[in-house]
Subunit: 309 residues, 2 copies
């Protein structure tokens, strides 16, 4: 009985594992899930599918899938549905990186230590691969078992999080703010959309893979996601100012070189570090009521603030 | 009783109207619907929302919404759901034009007689506006009344039609075929994906706004959409070779200048015209069993083949 039930929950929702082992299991599961949810590289049009797979596979810390799996653990979500939810969010994230790296945006040649998609496949293919990854994300959410209302709620959440009042909106504000002096409040609003919206979607889609949420549950997860989302960006800014390109796997010091406002440029390094720690504690406080089941969410908040890359 | 029922069906599904009046009503309805389904231009981030509205509003023949409304008429679809379905397809179409016009793709400065989005708003905003329009399309499908299974089927159809095995895939094949000699079969496969997939989605989403389809109904509509979709492209190629830029509202003769294979370059002008006429008749034959209710679908097939721009 115990074995059978453990098997169903395999491989990512085992509280007995160490955090590192749990993370590695989720990352391995997601690599496999993403690969299976993307068209085969040998299927026509091959170059497009190769570019999509290059963008989404074999890279990244999978922070969003980790958040989705940790939130799914709260409500004993079925692994298959959790994988779909996490993969959809990760595909949106992957497409946003592809487009963000293009010459007309951030013009970055290096991502996760590899040539960016437009450097490897050309700009037109990068544009199309990003577009097709976005469509694939929504497609993945409609597949598999599960309640139609729950799935539709996921489609809705993901569309909101990635659209003009979410991620795309944040990127537009980011673009418009180059060379401007932003207040801390304006910077926070920008990041709340640019990265926060999708991190929130990861948490909520993970939880929705288990069940429709009560307002109280959603509010607690929202507060957690807000803290973690902002902490993620503050730490990104700290690392951009302090780490080297080899450690980051992308060009360090780029924000300063591009004259972009950052937490470090507005608050200074020490105050930025103190803010990240405060946000970590806020995230912990938000999910206190979930008790032991929220262990992975707590550990993820710690990881996001204490990471070195 | 009759009045009340007519009011519910207002303004687009009245068989008593002339075809021209029906078209004008659908176009006016869709302009209003698209406007209401897009974020206000005054809402932050303003420039992004302005670019999205510029891309989607005030332009185009609205062929896809017309197809959706004509198909919805078969199954007495409720206007509100039909508008959402048609708007979602049109937003996908609008985003694809924005990205397709960018310098790294077709590099076109003129669209529907107006400067293209990247010319007016810059490339970065055009990229983001296209991305956000895609997300908005899926968001619109989740809103409003209607059965969750039906809505989910629409999300699924639209994601398939616009992704790597639909529209984006067709564009990738199109890109890869510049300067190559394609067979008629290869050209047809390219267009079946590039424009055909979304035209098919328009027909099926319109019908799904009325009810879930039987296999026989879906098959008939599929055959109709295949004929109309291919005819649309054959006529596009004929017009590109024969009309002037002012009439088209976009740069004429561009395919030949770009060394792209077209029906005219492969079959010649006369055989292309004969093919378009054959496809028109195929489309009529496919929907014969629907009887009088399919009048608008028949008229649209005629319009698509006989249009001058």
């Amino acid at each position: 009985m115990t074995n059978a039930s453990q098997e169903v929950m395999q491989p990512a929702v085992q509280s007995v594992q160490s955090f590192d082992a749990w993370m590695a299991a989720v990352q391995a599961t997601m690599e496999q899930a993403l690969s299976s949810f993307l068209p085969d590289a040998a299927q026509a049009p091959q170059e497009l599918h190769q570019a999509m797979r290059y963008a989404a596979l074999d890279g990244g810390k999978r922070v969003r899938p980790l958040l989705a799996f940790a939130a799914g653990e709260l409500f004993a979500a079925a692994p298959q549905q959790l994988q779909r939810a996490a993969a959809a969010v990760e595909m949106i994230h992957a497409y946003s990186l592809v487009h963000d790296d293009m010459p007309c945006m951030d013009d970055d040649a290096l991502r996760r230590g590899k040539p960016t998609v437009h450097v490897k496949f050309g700009q037109a293919s990068a544009l199309l691969a990003g577009d097709a990854l976005q469509a694939q994300a929504f497609l993945v959410l409609t597949d598999g078992a599960g309640d139609a209302d729950c799935k539709l709620a996921m489609v809705r959440l993901l569309a909101q999080a990635s659209g003009s009042l979410g991620m795309c909106g944040g990127q537009a504000i980011d673009l418009a703010s180059v060379g401007l002096h932003l207040s801390r409040q304006q910077l926070e609003q920008m990041h709340r959309l640019k990265t926060g919206a999708l991190l929130r979607a990861a948490v909520l889609l993970g939880a929705l893979s288990g069940k429709l949420l009560t307002p109280t549950e959603e509010q607690a997860l929202d507060r957690y996601a807000a803290g973690v989302g902002l902490a993620f960006q503050v730490v990104d800014d700290i690392l951009d100012a302090t780490a080297d390109s080899a450690t980051l796997g992308k060009t360090a010091g780029k924000d300063a070189a591009d004259n972009k406002p950052t937490y470090v440029s507005i608050l200074g390094l020490d105050a930025s570090k103190a803010l990240a720690e405060q946000l970590r504690q806020d995230a912990h406080a938000a999910i206190l009521s979930f008790g032991d089941k929220a262990q992975r969410l707590r550990e993820l908040a710690d990881l996001i603030v204490q990471r070195k890359a």
